[in-house]
Structures are given as C-alpha cells and as structure tokens.
C-alpha cells in the first residue's frame, strides 16, 4: 500500500492539476472573505454583522469553500485515469483494483489535509487583517481554532468523495457537471424549500461541521444538524460512495 501511495503522489506531482485547483480554491476563498467583510447581505444593511463574533467565525470558515475544488480534484484525478487511458497501466500493475482506489483516497486525503490547513491559516490571517480596517468585534484566534477541526475533516472527506465519484462516473465531463449541478443548483434548491430534507445532504452536513448556515436568507447554524451528527452523515456518504466505487470498479471492463 505504501508503494501504491508513493505511485499516486508521483502521479499528482507530475501534472499541474493540484497547483491549478489549489490556486483556484485560494482565489475563491479570498473573494468570499472580501465579500463577507465588505458587503452586507440584502435586508441586513443596518445591522453591523461584523460586531457579531459568530459572524467572524463564519468568515474564517470561508476556507470550507475549497470543498468544491477538492471534490473536483478527486474527480479529475480518478476519472482522468480513464480519460487518458492510464487506467490500463494502473490496473495492469495493480489488478486488485480496490487497492488503487484506497491508495488514491489516502493520497488525496493527505493532500487535502495539508491544503486545508494552509487555507485555514490564510483565511484566519486575511480575516484578521481585514477586520483591522473595519469597525468590528476583535478577531479571536480561539474562534478560528474552533472551526479548524471541522475545516480539515470536511475538506478531507470531500476529496475522498471526489475520488469515489470519479470512479463511479468515469466520464470526466459528466462527473464534473453532475457534481457542480448538485452542489450549486440541486442542493441549494432543496435546502431553500425543504431544509428538513436538505440538512441531511452532504453540502449542509459540511456546513454544520463548519458551523456556518445553510446559506438561505434567514438561516443560522441552528437549522442544521448538530456537529457530531453532521460528521456522521458526511462520513456515511463518503463510506457509501467509496464502497460503491470499489465494487463497480472491480466489475468494470477496461477497454
């Protein structure tokens, strides 16, 4: 397994995929922090949300916005093997296919852990610096540390989920489109109208871990699952998808 993980690391670092998606995640996160600090949501203009320590925590939790990039990272890394037909060499070298999937999941979990740590740190520092220019409650590192665990866990699980989805839907374009439509269209829509159902979806399970809201206008963290339940739900999704990926991959004809 160590050899396979080594091979996976060599695969990642011999293309630019990781670099590009990391930079995209960083840019998106910084944009979100700027918007949250400088723009008030509609209808809440007369309240200075920056005075609320809970809102400051939500700003730092912008690191969690990298989730979609880590999802795509996992998807592209796995489905890319089918797209570039390297899957043939990969499965010729390691015919016990679930081992390849596990090695890839471990590899991207490690990468996601490192990346999310860096992103969390940058998010905290950026928030701290921007708040210094505003009339706001003081930035507290303790608040930032409260969401560190959730950020790391959430992003790691999303990267693993990405690998699983990339194994289930081997057409790269289809996999990315389905993941994006689900994340940005279907899930917000369901959450908006049926939060009782929507809170059980992976995106809101992640939001509960990150202690942000569901994103709806009157939302607050209390509408979502309790943190331990959110963790259990997200871990559950990851396990179900991972097992489905291993089973379908084992049966698939590589032509």
């Amino acid at each position: 397994m160590i050899a396979l993980i080594r091979s996976e690391f060599r695969k990642v670092f011999s293309t630019k995929l990781l670099l590009i998606l990391s930079l995209a995640a960083l840019g998106f996160m910084q944009l979100q922090i700027f918007l949250l600090v400088f723009l008030s949501p509609p209808g809440l203009e007369d309240i200075n949300r920056l005075m609320d320590p809970a809102f400051i925590k939500i700003i730092v939790a912008s690191a969690g916005s990298a989730s979609v990039f880590l999802l795509i990272l996992g998807i592209v890394a796995m489905s890319g093997e089918y797209r570039n037909q390297t899957i043939t060499s990969t499965f010729l070298t390691t015919p016990v296919r679930w081992r390849v999937i596990v090695a890839k999941m471990v590899t991207f979990a490690i990468l996601a852990l490192a990346l999310s740590l860096v992103l969390w740190l940058i998010a905290a520092i950026t928030t701290m610096l921007l708040l210094g220019t505003q009339d706001s409650a003081p930035f507290e590192w303790s608040a930032a540390f409260e969401i560190l665990g959730g950020t790391l866990l959430g992003l790691v699980l999303y990267a693993i989920l990405g690998v699983a989805i990339g194994s289930l839907i081997t057409s790269q374009v289809a996999a990315i489109i389905i993941a994006l439509v689900f994340t940005f269209v279907l899930e917000p829509l369901i959450s908006l109208f049926f939060l009782s159902v929507g809170k059980w979806l992976p995106g809101n399970a992640l939001n509960s871990i990150l202690q942000t809201g569901s994103g709806g206008p009157e939302s607050s963290a209390s509408d979502l699952l309790d943190i331990p339940v959110g963790v259990a739900v997200l871990v559950g999704y990851t396990i179900v998808f991972a097992v489905a990926a291993a089973v379908t991959t084992n049966k698939r004809d590589i032509t």
């Binding site: 060599r10 037909q85 390297t86 043939t88 010729l92 015919p95 590589i254």
Partner: protein, 303 residues
Amino acid sequence: MVEHLTKRFGSGVTAVADLSFSAAPGKVTGFLGPNGAGKTTTLRCLLGLVAQTEGKATIDGVTYREIENPITVVGASLEASGAHPARTARNHLRMIASAAKITDSRVSEVLETVGLTAAADRKVGGYSLGMRQRLALAVALLGDPKVLILDEPANGLDPEGISWLRTFLRHQASKGVSVLVSSHVLSEVQQTVDDVIIIRSGSLVYQGSLHALTEGGPAEVVVRGPNIDQLVLPGQWSRKSVANGETVITGATIEEVGRAAFEQSLELHELSAKSADLEQLFLGLTAEESPTNQSVNGKGGPE
C-alpha cells in the same frame, strides 16, 4: 492459454466466441486476425482487464489477477494504454515503477532499450505514434518479465520502426522470453514469429506453425503455352487466372497438370508449382465466408 473464452458485451456484441488456444513458452507467437476479430478483447481478458462471460484465460496456469506483482511476470503493451499528455515518459514510467516496487534505475534502463533516452524528459503529448509505441514497450519491459503480451506493437511504426521491432522481438525471444504479439497484418510479424494463432469473428481458424500453414494451403500450378487456354480441366480443378498464354490452376498437383497437357497434346513452355502466398492465404482464412477455411481449420499445431 485460453480455454473456451467467450465475451459478450452489454450491447449484445459477441467479441469472442468459444475461443481456445495456447501459446508455447519460449516462443514468439503471432496472434492474427483482421480488425474487429476480437484480438484486443481476448488479450484484455487474458490480462484481467475485461471479465469474460464464459471460459478461462490463464498464464502459466493462473489468471493474471492472481499473480503477485504481475508486471514482473507478464509485461503488456496494449493499444489503448495511454500516458497523460502533460507527463514526461520518465515520469510515466516512474509512477508505474513505484507501484510495483521497481527502482528508478530500471526506468532509465528500459528507456535506453527502446531508444527513448533522448526524449525521456519531454512531454508525451508531443510524441509521435512510433515514440508512443516505444514507450508502451518500455512499460511492458519495466518488470523484466518472462512473458510479453503486445497488442499491435507495429501499428503506426514506419518501415525503420518495424525493422527495429523485429530485432527487438527476436532479441527478447533469444533471452527465453515468451512473446504473444497481435497484428492484423501478417507481413509485419511473418519474419519473427514461430507459431501463429489466427482468429476471425472471435473464433479460431488456425493454430500452428507458420510453416505448416503454408503447406496446408491450396497449391497452385502455373502452366504456359501458346494454346493453353484450350486445356480441358477435370471437374475438381479450377482455372484461377488466364493471361498472356499463362494459366494458373488450383486443385491439382504439378504431375496431374503435366499429364493432362500431354494427353491433350498441348505444347507447354512452362510447368511450375507455385506455393501459396502467405498473405493471400491469411486473407483467405480471415475473410468472411472463406471457402478455404474448411480445408485448414482444425489442423492442429504442435501442441
């Protein structure tokens, strides 16, 4: 060794139908058939990439997926085994090597063997088809295997490349490596193979030595003379072609044709036997509804 292998794809296409053959160890075996005959599917079943519907495909008695660290036992290059276009050849080999616990110095060795050392650190996306084939061979050689399975390795090679491939295959065979090499063009492998397996529409049409294949083919007799078109042929003979006073007759021996001409008092300028052209024979064997099929089918090989 392939026994009663059948593969039906979900779309209802039967790519391989009850195919059985075996390739002898330590020999170069050509695996021939026209495009779409099921060669690639058969090889992919053998390599555990495609699950057969029925039957068994084994290497030295075990299936590929049962082999521990298989690329050190069986090296394979398949047509659709690609490399990431943004990766260099060296990095492509290194990622495979590390998964199989093969050293990076071996990577340099195989790059040298296939003549890619100079291009090793260039991106594969810029490679010619011939260079990609060499890279695929390098992958196959990486584990220093005793069995090589090569799918259409000559595809896309220029004449120089094909000549290099022949030398390469002969060198591997001389080292005692068993080689199974597929092709849809007999002439590509004709000078290199010991035995041939010929399939058509997923079924075996011939297995045996190349030499035996030639002997089993229909003999032709060439006769030439000023009035040869007047030669009356007995029923089972047939006149294949007539041109410039030359006739090619099939279905008869040279003695029989000579006797017939003598009995009919025809002047002869030439009477010669023409051994069947291998390429023609191959085309005849693999063509749909081939009449020559029956005469050669079932003629067993040395095993």
